[in-house]
């Protein structure tokens, strides 16, 4: 049997098992990472760049298939997906039977290159690695003379590891299994944007100014932004009134540094910074809210708690009887569980960290940003990304009201952080 006939296939990682079941037009589970170049993007060269790098990334070179008991990945031998000019709202649904069956798409508009990835493949870490290599290859093709010293190959710091790090770091629970019972959280609701639009408000700020603001409160940038978002919901949505339900901001934590993993597959855990605004005469100040959310985060982002989360998440998958349940029934059960938990969180704020490009390429890229599509019960989400001394916070929302975004950015500017705003022009102009 020749190697050519031997189709590669792979199981989904523990987190990815959820995404094919719950993904729909309204809840796409697609995230976008964009790079804004200094010059207009050339579609032909971008396609060529994609054609050249895709064969190296087996995690991206997959299509999704349904088995009797589980979904699984199968090697996709079709040509790379077609690079197209941006034609839909960010994070639009990726149809598995279109796009040459690939689970990601590459689009461009003006000077921006967008990589949109169905979360089943990989998380933001994997997405960034892929986009960086795409940008490198594109720049090598676009400016062959400037990059004549650069070889047409993937960077040496890239790992093609595709282990399921959840399974690898899973430890059988000792004693009684820890249960994660979440209570109902504040749900941000309101009039939706017409025509199924997704609104984007992007704020760009200098990291040095942001760091100075964080220093005042003795917190990290991440903690500060989570606190600012929670405060913005308290002020902009609850109008500084008390609530029995907490404002729960989900924060995905990249688990790789905690478990020495370099996997290209998903490897993150969700923690939630919670703040219960009590009914009281005096309104909460930003400093108070920040202190509460920072404490909540610190308590959860510990190795022990992350171990527990992995154990909790993986133990169901490890149950042999559950594994024998046909996929169609599993899907119904997973959907039910997900529906039941949809109101347990208010929003999500993710920080994919600082993107660093190699020196010869840096001057051709103006900025990086990321964006999350909506999910059930969360009508507004925030994504953070930094590059070259600048940090961008991208709010994606399906709601007309922008009070939360307003309060968020006003909190930052009040702390001396200069902010530059850009939107995708879906918000009403007077």
């Amino acid at each position: 049997m020749s190697k050519e006939n031997n189709i590669l296939w792979d199981k989904l990682d523990n987190t990815a098992l959820l995404f094919p079941v719950i993904a729909s037009e309204n809840m796409t589970n697609v995230y976008r990472i964009s790079a804004v170049m200094t010059e207009e993007v050339d579609r032909v060269l971008l396609q060529e760049a994609l054609n050249r790098i895709l064969p190296h990334f087996s995690v991206f070179r997959m299509c999704l298939r349904a088995g009797m008991f589980w979904y699984y990945f199968e090697e996709n031998r079709k040509a790379a997906p077609q690079v197209r000019q941006e034609y839909a709202f960010p994070g639009a649904y990726i149809n598995r039977s279109q796009n040459h069956n690939y689970l990601f798409r590459v689009t461009y508009y003006g000077r921006r290159i967008n990589l949109e990835v169905f979360h089943v493949l990989t998380d933001g870490f994997g997405g960034i690695v892929f986009l960086k290599e795409l940008v490198y290859q594109y720049l090598r093709l676009k400016y062959p003379e400037e990059f004549s010293g650069e070889k047409d190959r993937i960077s040496s710091d890239v790992y093609f590891d595709k282990e399921d790090s959840y399974l690898k770091n899973y430890r059988k629970p000792v004693g009684e299994r820890k249960k994660y019972k979440s209570s109902q959280a504040v749900t941000v609701q309101g009039e939706k944007l017409s025509g199924g639009a997704l609104g984007v408000i992007q704020g760009t700020m200098r990291i040095d100014l942001l760091k100075a603001a964080c220093k005042k409160y003795g917190v990290t940038i991440n903690q500060y932004l989570v606190g600012a978002l929670t405060y913005a919901i308290y002020k902009g949505y609850l109008h500084e009134r008390g609530s029995e339900d907490p404002i729960a901001c989900c924060v995905p934590v990249n688990l790789r540094p905690y478990y020495q993993s370099h996997t290209m597959k998903n490897f993150f855990a969700m923690v939630a910074a919670e703040f219960v605004p009590e009914e009281r005469l005096e309104k909460y100040s930003f400093a108070e809210v920040l202190a509460i959310t920072t404490k909540s985060l610190k308590e959860q982002i510990t190795k022990e708690n992350l171990d527990d989360i992995i154990t909790y998440n993986v133990s169901n998958e490890q149950n042999f009887i559950l594994r024998l349940v046909p996929l169609a029934i599993k899907n119904i059960a997973i959907k039910q569980v997900y529906e039941a938990s949809r109101h347990n969180s208010t929003t999500t704020i993710t920080n994919i960290g600082n993107v660093e490009l190699r020196e010869p390429y840096r001057r051709y890229v103006e900025s990086f940003s990321c964006l999350l599509a909506m999910s059930a019960g969360q009508n507004l989400k925030a994504s953070v990304c930094s590059y070259n001394g600048m940090l961008t916070v991208n709010f994606s929302s399906i709601l007309q009201d922008t009070s939360i975004q307003k309060c968020f950015f006003q909190t930052l500017t009040a702390d001396g952080v200069e902010v530059v705003i850009q939107t995708n022009a879906v918000y009403e102009d007077h």
Binding site: M1, E86, G195, R206, Q410, V419, A425
Partner: protein, 231 residues
């Protein structure tokens, strides 16, 4: 480039009011704009994609309207000319079925094999239902459903030839046809079906087809089963 004195933010977009607080914006001078661009970059606007989304929605709504219209016309003609026979009910069910499947084919992202499998399965159910509704003469299981199985075999062959590189991905559909053929043949053996030709044709065609894929498919056949049935 504009500035909102209420939010104290600079705004790249060409617009009159602040997207955050809706206050009228102040225009930023050239010098300040240049300084912002120098520090924060030029930004990059987004395309207007609303037109495309609207067109898709309009086409879907137009299609639904046409189906509803045909349904109303059928019911009206039925009511005026043949009020004693409710044939329009079958028309309405068939219209609903067709509409749902068009939407399913457009919207659902399963592969062609799965969609064909689902369509064959539900068409069998629909044919059986119509037969039952029109007096249970048995034509559905005698002729229509076996015919559909043979059609399914033909479709599997067509798909496998069309997509030879991934022929194995239609194996599950072929197995479904095998299962349906076995049921039809079982109905003949238990004398629920009197017609011999079609059940035998189903079991023979599907059986030979399965045997051929097993022999010529070599290890791809077993590998596909291993993938599909991994626990």
């Amino acid at each position: 480039m504009n500035y909102c004195s209420n939010c104290k933010v600079t705004i790249y977009d060409e617009r009159n009011s602040c997207p955050l607080c809706h206050k009228m914006l102040e225009e930023v001078g050239d010098e300040r704009a240049a300084a912002v661009a120098e520090q924060y970059g030029l930004g990059m606007r987004y395309p207007n994609v609303r037109g495309r989304e609207r067109r898709i929605r309009f086409v879907m709504h137009l299609m639904l309207f046409c189906f509803v219209l045909v349904g109303i016309v059928a019911v009206t003609i039925n009511w005026i000319f043949t009020p004693t026979v409710y044939w329009s009910l079958i028309v309405c069910v068939a219209l609903a079925y067709t509409y749902l499947f068009i939407v399913y084919w457009i919207r659902h992202d399963a592969g062609a094999a799965f969609k064909v499998g689902m369509q064959i399965f539900f068409t069998m159910a629909l044919l059986y239902g119509i037969d039952h509704f029109t007096g249970a003469h048995g034509w559905a299981v005698e002729w229509a459903i076996p015919g559909l199985i043979l059609l399914g075999d033909g479709m599997v062959f067509f798909f496998m030839m069309l997509n030879r590189q991934n022929w194995y991905s239609y194996l599950a559909l072929l197995l479904l046809m095998g299962l349906c053929s076995a049921v039809i043949f079982g109905l003949y053996l238990t004398q629920h079906i009197r017609n011999l030709i079609l059940p035998v044709a189903c079991i023979l065609v599907t059986g030979i087809y399965l045997a051929a894929t097993l022999v010529f498919g070599d290890r791809q056949f077993t590998r596909e089963l291993k993938r599909r049935f991994h626990v």
